[in-house]
Each structure stands twice: as structure tokens, then as C-alpha cells.
């Protein structure tokens, strides 16, 4: 098996607060292979964005990585010196944020922001950087890129701005792009275009993508594999087709109830009664147990670990405990 | 209130003690010291008549010959001893500071109250009515904001002098001062309240209230004021410190309370004349008191601002 591009092992992210330490990510492990698109889904507050922030090293204090490891192409990056990590950001891991309206500094032209990013990471002349920037804008689908490059962000529409943001994230040709809900803030009409642009350009450059979203439709269309987060824990991970068609974790099953409409988001899981627990009130055992339709006694006591399943899938649920299955069988 | 069971009270106390604000307070030594210092000065000022060994505002009890007694030393003529010495009128500096702080705090609190009431009222009106009235009020606020407060106070004093008959000027001086200082500080309250009002007024319950004929302003007040309490409290705290300093500054310009009933600022203005003459205590002690008071109130305001702004926590 080839070495994965990104490997996250038992990642723990904690927030110390005055009422004790909150564990926002609890032993999250997953890999992203070269050229792969990994979707990451979950309700708001499940820890999707935190995972992205932890990988790129931009957790906001007082949040901190309290355990686990993050490897990028065989190099451990979660404990790098600040300056070394900075060199990885943008150059090897790019990031696209949710809201294109606020992601761009309003006081600088697109050209200034692009060339600044390019020249931070690649030793090229101002002129060359500008040339690359124009090409990049052209590639992400900005019409008349050579003219519009000198416009300020507010001159662009939301969709166009997100294209600019994608161009910026890809400006230094990173190997991995973390896209944190790249379409949520956009008009429905342009969402698909943006996803297409992102997917195409990454594929073209061989960059892997970690696509964070709560839009199952996007995942279904775009991702190779999908990871499902619940209350800071990975519930299930596996190839998109398999997970969608035959979800194993009861939570995922509920989540997939929203798929048929495609446009519906997973924000409101009317299918599953109750709400995701707050971080300071995660029940013992399986975090999902109070809402689970198939809850067992054990779920309330022991926490299920992520366990391998056939077809490259992994699930953390006692339903699939090998010992149990063996006992059942 | 009246029907609360006895158990409710400790609960409320526990809740208050447990609240984020209290927690942040307990964790900030600076805030604790500042609060202690302000509290001590405020209490000392409030209870000045009981705490002060002398009543410096009762001229009949003063003995001029007690003047310029150094701290803790007997007076050359009368043999009287005063903790912090006496000033040029034979007033006990310690007592005068307590009574002076009383005046300063009174002016400060009343000026803040005046600014607050004016600002909140105008903010509500501007935010609720909108339209030309809003534009007008906000233009006035803009101009007001650029117009230096001390000039404004000087002008108000000028006008007041024209309208108040000479016989009442002295008695009215403190109120004129309060209005002058308060009037230069209402804009901030107005802006905060206006913003909150504009948000609230579009909400359904206000519309609903309108439909059923209830006076929406009542509802607005009930809903908006709790929302803006935080920022208003911060503005008011900082405003209190500013008002106390403004009063001191104005007394230097000859606009202020009568010297027979001096505020801290007036005491400093008077004490300043003794900087080179050797009677350092007349200047030092009132200045230290004012510094301690204004600094601790400012620090409290600072802390409050950070504590009430969850995004900065």
C-alpha cells in the first residue's frame, strides 16, 4: 500500500476552559491518499473545521493538539516549529474558507494578494508572479483575468470571489487542499460550478482534497471517500458509494436519510430525534447512545473504537464488534 | 421578587458567583485590586460625614491658624496634629479629600447618569423613528463627537452664567458642571442603543405589538436595555473616570465648584500652587486620591470591556 499523502493518527484537540478541559476532537484517525478527495461530514460543532484547522496548524488558542500525530508525506507536521509550519501552509497545504466575502482582504487588489502569496513561497520575480496569477485566475474561470486582476475584492460577485479564493489557495501549488464548506455561503446556482472548478483544478494538479461540508449531495458527487464525524469522534469512514448506499453506523444511516433530495443539508437531522451533545456533556460510552435507535447496554458504558470493516471501511460502533459478531455468528 | 422563596436567594448568589463575569473577575488580580480601591474610595466618600475627623465644608469650625500644618506634626500655633496635614485655610487635608471625593464622585455619577439618560433616549428615538429624525440626531452626534468636550463645557458655563441670576450661580455651579460634562458624553450611549433598536424593531414581536396596539417603545425598552447593558456599563464606567478628570480639568480653567466646597480637582488646582513652596502634602494627597480613583475605575472599565466581550475571551 503506497504511503498516504496525509495521515492523521489519534488526533486529540482540547480546549481548556474554566469548567475543565473540553475535548473537541477525540482520537480521530484517517488517511488521505495522493490525488484523493476525502469528504468530511457531520453536524455543526462535530469538529469538521477543527480537524482542518488542526492539520494546517491554525487552531485558535486556547485550542491545542493534545494528542495524536499528523503526518504529511512521511513527515510529522503537528509538532513543527512555527516558522517551518508556516512554510508548509499555502505551499504544501492550501485552504479554502467558507465565506468568500470575508476571506479576502478588502484593502488589497486581487493581484496584490495573489502575487504576495506566490512570492512568499516561490522565488519568482514580481512580473512572473503576476503572470502566474493571471493564468491562475483564468484557470479558475475569471473572465478577462488580465484586466480584472487589478480589481479589489468588492468588485467581484460572491461566486467570482470564491474562485479567487480557490486561486489563492492553489497559488503555490499545494499537494493538499482543505476546503472548509466552500459553497455554503454561495448562491445555490453557483455552488456546483465552484465545486467543479475546485475538483477539476485539483485533479489537474494532482492535489488531494479534504472537502469539509455538511452537504451530502456535494459529497456524493465529489468525494472518493467520506468520513463522518460525530461529537468530535469519527463514526464511520469509507468509500463514498459504499457509505451512502449501505451506511453501517446508525448515525450515518440517519444522516443518509437526507441524500435523496441532494440539496438538503445535514444541519437538521429530523430523522434522528434529539441533538448532538455539547462538548461538556458527552455521555460515557458511545457519544451517540442517547439518540441511537439501536442502543445497547454496552454503548452506555464502553466507548467503541474505530474498527476496520470489509471494503476498506471503518466504523466505530458496537454493532460491528467482531467479538460480538462472532458471538452472534 | 416578593414571592421568591428563601432558597432562591442563595441560588441567585451562587449563580452570580458562578457566572462568567465573576469567574473572570476572580481570575484578574488587577480587577480585584481596582475594585477594592474604587470601593474603598467610594465608601469613604459616601460615609465622609461619619469618617472624617472634621467637616471642612463648615467654615465656622475652621481655624485659620491651623493652616499649613505638615502631616503628623503639631501646628506651630495651635498644637493640633493632622494625619495628612492641613491646607492654606486650616482644613484637615484628610477630611477635605473625603469630602472632595464626595463632590467629584457626585459630579461624575450624575454626569454619567445625565449622559446615559440623554443618550439612551435619543438612541431609542433615532433607532425607532428612523428617517430624517435619525439622520438629524446622528449628524448632531457627529458634530458633537468632533467638538472638544472642554470647549463645550466652557460654552455651557458661559450660557449658564447668562441665565442664572448671580445670587444662585454658586449653588447652581455643580449642576451646570454636571450638565456640561454630561452633555459632551451622550453620543456613545446613543449609538449603541440606536444600533440595538434598529435590530430589534424589525423583529416580529415589535410588529405584533404594533398590531395589537401596544406601545412598542415600552417593549423596545424592555428588550433592548438588557441587551445593551454590557456596552452601556463599559461606557459608563470609563465615562465616570473621564467625568471626574474633566471636572478637575475644568476647575483649572476656573470653571467649577466653589473653593469653600472643593472637589478633588479643585483641591489639586489649589495644591498645585504649593508645589514649590514646600507644602507638598496639599498637592500630593489629593492627587494620589484622584489618581487611585480614576485609575482603578479605568482599570475596572478595561476589565469589564474584555470580560463582556466573549469574542476576546
Amino acid at each position: 500500500m503506497p504511503e498516504p499523502l496525509l495521515s492523521v493518527r489519534d488526533l486529540v484537540v482540547e480546549f481548556p476552559t474554566r469548567r475543565g478541559v473540553l475535548r473537541a476532537l477525540d482520537k480521530v484517525s484517517f488517511d488521505i491518499a495522493e490525488g484523493e478527495v476525502l469528504g468530511m461530514v457531520g453536524e455543526s460543532g462535530a469538529g469538521k473545521s477543527l480537524t482542518g484547522a488542526a492539520i494546517i496548524g491554525l487552531l485558535e488558542p486556547p485550542g491545542r493538539i493534545a494528542g495524536g500525530e499528523i503526518w504529511l508525506r512521511g513527515e510529522r507536521i503537528d509538532n513543527l516549529a512555527r516558522e517551518k509550519m508556516r512554510r508548509i501552509r499555502g505551499r504544501r497545504i492550501g485552504m479554502v474558507f467558507q465565506d468568500p466575502l470575508t476571506s479576502l482582504n478588502p484593502l488589497y487588489t486581487v493581484a496584490e494578494q495573489l502575487t504576495e502569496t506566490i512570492r512568499t513561497h516561490i522565488d519568482v520575480s514580481e512580473k512572473e508572479a503576476r503572470k502566474r496569477a493571471i493564468a491562475l485566475l483564468d484557470r479558475v474561470g475569471i473572465p478577462a483575468a488580465s484586466r480584472r486582476i487589478d480589481d479589489y475584492p468588492h468588485h467581484f460577485s460572491g461566486g467570482m470571489r470564491q474562485r479567487v479564493v480557490i486561486a489563492l489557495a492553489l497559488a503555490a501549488e499545494p499537494e493538499l487542499v482543505i476546503a472548509d464548506e466552500p459553497t455554503t455561503a454561495l448562491d445555490v446556482s453557483v455552488q456546483a460550478q465552484i465545486i467543479d472548478v475546485l475538483k477539476e483544478i485539483c485533479a489537474e494538479r494532482g492535489a488531494s482534497v479534504m472537502l469539509i461540508t455538511h452537504d451530502m449531495g456535494v459529497i456524493a458527487e465529489t468525494a472518493d471517500r467520506v468520513a463522518v464525524l460525530y461529537a468530535g469522534r469519527l463514526a464511520e469512514i469509507g468509500p463514498v458509494r459504499d457509505v451512502i448506499q449501505a451506511a453501517e453506523h446508525p448515525y450515518t444511516v440517519g444522516l443518509m436519510g437526507s441524500i435523496p433530495t441532494l440539496t438538503q443539508t445535514a444541519d437538521r437531522l429530523t430523522q434522528i430525534p434529539g441533538a448532538m451533545p455539547r462538548l461538556n456533556a458527552i455521555p460515557t460510552g458511545c457519544a451517540f447512545n442517547p439518540r441511537c435507535t439501536r442502543v445497547m447496554d454496552r454503548c452506555r458504558i464502553d466507548r467503541p473504537e474505530l474498527a476496520a470493516r470489509p471494503g476498506g471501511r471503518q466504523v466505530s460502533c458496537w454493532l460491528y464488534d467482531t467479538a460480538m459478531e462472532a458471538a452472534d455468528g | 421578587m416578593t414571592d421568591s422563596t428563601p432558597e432562591d436567594r442563595p441560588n441567585a448568589l451562587v449563580r452570580a458567583w458562578d457566572s462568567d463575569i465573576a469567574w473572570s473577575f476572580r481570575r484578574s488580580p488587577l480587577a480585584i485590586i481596582a475594585a477594592l480601591v474604587s470601593l474603598i474610595i467610594i465608601l469613604a466618600a459616601v460615609f465622609a460625614p461619619w469618617l472624617a475627623p472634621h467637616d471642612p465644608f463648615d467654615p465656622g469650625t475652621l481655624n485659620l491658624m491651623d493652616g499649613f500644618t505638615p502631616p503628623m506634626e503639631p501646628n506651630a500655633f495651635t498644637g493640633n496634629v493632622y494625619w495628612l496635614g492641613t491646607d492654606n485655610q486650616g482644613r484637615d487635608v484628610f477630611s477635605t479629600i473625603l469630602y472632595g471625593a464626595r463632590i467629584s464622585l457626585f459630579v461624575g455619577f450624575m454626569a454619567v447618569l445625565f449622559a446615559m439618560v440623554l443618550g439612551i433616549t435619543l438612541g431609542l428615538i433615532a433607532g425607532y423613528r428612523g428617517g430624517w429624525l435619525d439622520s438629524l440626531l446622528m449628524r448632531v452626534a457627529d458634530v458633537q463627537l468632533t467638538f472638544p468636550s472642554i470647549l463645550l463645557a466652557l460654552l455651557i458655563f458661559g450660557v449658564a452664567r447668562g441665565f442664572i441670576p448671580p445670587a444662585y450661580r454658586e449653588a447652581m455651579a455643580i449642576w451646570v458642571l454636571i450638565v456640561a460634562i454630561g452633555l459632551s458624553d451622550w453620543v456613545q450611549y446613543a449609538r449603541v442603543v440606536r444600533g440595538a433598536t434598529m435590530v430589534e424593531k424589525s423583529k416580529e414581536y415589535v410588529q405584533a405589538a404594533r398590531v395589537i396596539g401596544a406601545h412598542p417603545t415600552k417593549i423596545l425598552v424592555r428588550h433592548i436595555l438588557p441587551n445593551v447593558m454590557g456596552p452601556v456599563l463599559v461606557i459608563a464606567t470609563i465615562g465616570l473616570a473621564l467625568a471626574i478628570i474633566a471636572e478637575a480639568t475644568l476647575s483649572f480653567l476656573g470653571v467649577g465648584v466653589p473653593p469653600t466646597q472643593p472637589s478633588l480637582g479643585t483641591l489639586i488646582r489649589i495644591g498645585q500652587g504649593f508645589l514649590f513652596s514646600g507644602e507638598w502634602w496639599i498637592l500630593l494627597f489629593p492627587s494620589l486620591t484622584l489618581l487611585a480613583l480614576a485609575l482603578s475605575v479605568n482599570l475596572l472599565g478595561d476589565w469589564l470591556r474584555d470580560a463582556l466581550n466573549p469574542r476576546l475571551r
Binding site: L58, R86, S103 | L30, T146, L154, L155, G162, Q272, L312
Partner: protein, 328 residues
């Protein structure tokens, strides 16, 4: 752009007229100018005569109108006290005040921004905590006391710096007398500039810190970090520039305050500027000077507001959207 400036100018004229009316009417109540104009021997009849000659008995509106009409041509009459044309008097004092205000303003701005940025970036370390606390002393003591204490320490005890006045001055052009070009002029400027600038510095510092913290939390800063930009580029290229937009506005508006507070600083340091002139004029009820001073302050505000608007315009491209849209 032109429409914008025109609109501004119309507003300015209205503001100026209002200030003129306010100033003029207020000063009718400040005191009796005759009393300070004449000696103790002047008879009541002579006083009445002078009052009549000065037009002080005319109806209010007549006095106001003649005031505005003449003010529009820069004629504010002659000072009752110094018997000099008010305009000339003010122009001769203005450079002193402007130099003081400008130097204090620049000092306040530089130190305010510097400290503000530092305390925002190094939140929680002891030095920024100390800066925050110590800076509060600047706003917790009245300006006049700070001035007097500075004189005591630096002029009387240490004898490092002059205690009063402007030192040597030289003329630039026909009427601008500057103290910036001589050593004693610069030495004389230090204490008053500190006294005057301390308060503003604290304000600016706090504002910069608050704005900076706010900006540092924005998405575009996060995005800039995510692109691997250096801390330097993020803090000073991106965060600071965005912070400066509101800071410039407030600092600009504070210039008005600086000029007003120079009344106190100038009095303490016997600085020969318009502030000292104004407060002396108030004492002597020199109405023409007082009125002209207020008009001048109003004018300064109007100009500052305009400059701030234009600066805003230069710093924040979003405001230029009007023009761009207008072309489409």
C-alpha cells in the same frame, strides 16, 4: 467625487454658520467687555458711550449679521484687549498651536499605534499588561497637573528642558514662525508635546489594540495565515492596514480635541498659541478674539473632517465603489 466634495462643502458652510451663531450668542453672556477694556477711572457715561460705539447696544440679529458678513471676509475686527486685528493676532499664534498639536498628534499616533499593535499581538504578557496599565495613568490625572509635574522634574530639578515658551523661532515665509528649526525651539516643544499627546496616545493605543484584536479574528487574516504568509506580512501588511481605517478617522477627529486641549497645555507652558490666547480672551471678555477662535476651531474641524474623508477614500477601496459603479 466632485459631487461628494460639493456636498461636504455645503455641509461645512452650515456647520460654520451654526458655530458662528452659537459662538456669537454665547459670548453675549460671558461677561461685560467694557469692564475689562477701560480703567477704573472711566465714568459711567464714557462706558455707555463706548458700548454704543462698539455696537454692543444693537439688536442681536444686527450684531450677528455684521459679524458674519465681516467674518466671511476674514475680518473679525480688532481685539478689545490687545487692540490688534484679530485675524492677524490669530494667524500669528496659529503656527505655534499647529506645530504643538501636530507634533503631539504625530507622537500620539506613532506611540499609540506602536503600543497598540504590541499589546494586541502580545496579549497577556507582562510587558503589554504593564503598558496597558501605565498608559491609563495618562488619562487618570488632569492634564494641567501632568504639565506642572513635568516642569518640576525636567525643568526645575533636572534642568534638562525649558519650562516655558517656544524657545527661538525663525520665519518660514512671511508669517509662519517656526520653532522646529532651532535647537531651543525643539527642546521647548518636548514637554508640552508630551503633556498634550499623552491623553491622545492612550486613546489611540486602546483603539488600535481593540481594532487589531478584532481584525486578527477576521477570516481574511485566517486566510492570509493559511496561505503561509509570514507573521510580519499578516500583522503589518494585512491586519494593521485594516486596523488603520477606523484609527485614522478617530485620530483625525482627535486633532480637534488636541487643539482644544492645547488651551490647558499652552496655559501651563506659556506656549504662545491660540489656546492661551483664547483663555486669556475669555478672562478679559475679548469677544472678537473668542468668536474668531471658535470659528477657527470649527474651520479646523471641517477641514479635518474633509481630510479624513479623503484619507478614508485613499485607504479603503470599497468607498470608491460609487465611482466604479457610476461608470458602468
Amino acid at each position: 467625487m466632485i459631487a461628494f466634495i460639493l456636498r461636504r462643502l455645503v455641509q461645512s458652510v452650515i456647520v460654520m454658520l451654526t458655530v458662528a451663531l452659537v459662538a456669537f450668542s454665547l459670548f453675549r453672556f460671558v461677561g461685560d467687555p467694557i469692564a475689562s477694556m477701560v480703567g477704573q477711572e472711566t465714568t459711567l457715561a464714557e462706558r455707555a458711550e463706548l458700548r454704543e460705539a462698539l455696537g454692543l447696544n444693537d439688536p442681536f440679529i444686527v450684531q450677528f449679521w455684521s459679524f458674519v458678513a465681516r467674518a466671511a471676509t476674514g475680518d473679525f475686527g480688532i481685539s478689545y484687549r490687545l487692540q490688534q486685528p484679530v485675524m492677524e493676532l490669530i494667524l500669528s499664534r496659529l503656527p505655534a498651536t499647529l506645530e504643538l498639536a501636530l507634533v503631539s498628534g504625530i507622537l500620539a499616533f506613532l506611540f499609540g499605534v506602536g503600543f497598540g499593535v504590541y499589546t494586541a499581538l502580545r496579549r497577556g504578557n507582562w510587558l503589554s499588561g504593564s503598558i496597558m496599565t501605565i498608559s491609563l495613568i495618562g488619562v487618570s490625572l488632569p492634564t494641567f497637573l501632568i504639565g506642572v509635574l513635568l516642569i518640576w522634574v525636567f525643568a526645575v530639578e533636572l534642568q534638562w528642558l525649558p519650562s516655558f515658551g517656544r524657545g527661538d523661532t525663525v520665519y518660514i515665509g512671511d508669517w509662519w514662525r517656526t520653532g522646529l528649526l532651532t535647537e531651543s525651539g525643539r527642546a521647548s516643544l518636548i514637554l508640552p508635546a508630551i503633556t498634550l499627546g499623552l491623553y491622545q496616545m492612550t486613546l489611540i493605543m486602546r483603539l488600535v489594540r481593540a481594532e487589531m484584536l478584532e481584525v486578527l479574528r477576521t477570516d481574511y487574516i485566517k486566510f492570509a495565515r493559511a496561505r503561509g504568509l509570514s507573521n510580519r506580512a499578516v500583522h503589518f501588511g494585512h491586519a494593521l492596514k485594516n486596523t488603520l481605517v477606523p484609527v485614522i478617522t478617530i485620530t483625525g477627529l482627535q486633532m480637534g480635541s488636541i487643539i482644544a486641549f492645547s488651551i490647558i497645555t499652552e496655559t501651563v507652558f506659556q506656549w504662545p498659541g491660540v489656546g492661551a490666547l483664547f483663555i486669556r480672551s475669555v478672562q478679559f471678555v475679548d469677544v472678537p478674539v473668542m468668536a474668531a477662535y471658535l470659528m477657527l476651531i470649527a474651520l479646523v474641524f471641517v477641514v479635518i473632517n474633509l481630510v479624513v474623508d479623503l484619507l478614508y477614500y485613499a485607504v479603503d477601496p470599497r468607498l470608491r465603489v460609487d465611482r466604479a459603479n457610476a461608470r458602468h
